[in-house]
Amino acid sequence: MDRAPIPIRPVNSRHPAFEYFSTKKDELVGWARKFSLFPYPFVTACCAMEFMAVSSTPYDTDRFGAALPRFSPRQSDLLMVVGTITHKQAPVLLKVYEQMCEPKWVMAFGACATSGGFYQNYAAVAGIDKIIPVDIYVPGCPPRPETVIDAIMKLQDRIARAHHPIVTETF
């Protein structure tokens, strides 16, 4: 008795329903950008320990696509300022920020980068937002890794909801 062969593949695998989908440009670009944050760690002080903890296996920011540090500001999207910024160092930070290509975001990691922390003297800048615009602040001295992950997720949400112009007036 002949049995008809079981069709393993769809009769017509190039059916148009599987070939196209529609979405909004901003959603698509935002989705792509939020999972490919290449951080530039501008690490100056003791918060570096916590930065290493949050990057390595137990907490693993790679789950959010934000673990591959680019040690050139020109290849990175997220400037993570980890630690105290002194007045002597402020020109360096400004130059690094200006070298980053758009789109770019800045995270102030820890109390010192956020507000100067307990340093209120001749040496320390009272918060990096006096020099460069900051997108997200992470409190703590140093911050818990959960706080950093929360900040990354909040930044991702903001990127996903933002308007992403592909062509602007200046480009």
Partner: protein, 157 residues
């Protein structure tokens, strides 16, 4: 052992117009500023204080002379420390540099010059080491305003 060495030094090291005492098992020598170089030379040559540990200053605001320059030396063979102090006035805060005796003194004298404005006569390079060019004043002096900042880049509005 320590006590014996320190007592011997106390007798032999004391220059004209100097004082000496033993504090926390460290010999403390107080000498006039013009005797600092000679005292350090003798410490190195006669008592084997071969390691220069630090030079810093104390700002006794309101006293004259105002500044006290403090040196620490260590002997790696005797395993004892000695502290050498001298007072310099605010109008002329000058002491002789010890770079000729200890090369390591160069950077520490630069730091002390940054923070207190002590001038080390004979140091070949007294540029700022921790501060930057253009910084006015000396931030660890007691009359430096606590909140005074001297930013290098303009703050954002």
């Amino acid at each position: 052992m320590h006590a014996a060495i320190l007592e011997t030094m106390k007798e032999r090291m004391l220059p004209e117009g100097g004082e000496a005492c033993v504090s926390h098992r460290t010999l403390v020598l107080t000498v006039p500023p013009e005797c600092v170089f000679d005292a350090a030379r003798r410490l190195k040559a006669e008592f084997a204080f071969d390691l220069f540990l630090d030079v810093t200053a104390v700002d006794w605001l309101g006293q004259t002379p105002r500044f006290e320059v403090v040196y620490h030396f260590y002997s790696t063979s005797h395993k004892i420390r000695v502290r050498l102090k001298t007072r310099v006035p605010e109008t002329d805060p000058v002491v002789d540099s010890l770079v000729a005796l200890y090369g390591a003194a160069g950077f520490m004298e630069r730091e002390c010059h940054d923070m207190y404005g002590i001038v080390f006569r004979g140091n070949p390079d007294l540029r700022p080491i921790l501060l930057y060019e253009g910084f006015e004043g000396h931030p660890l002096r007691k009359d430096y305003p606590k909140r005074r900042e001297q930013p290098l880049v303009a703050f954002r509005k």
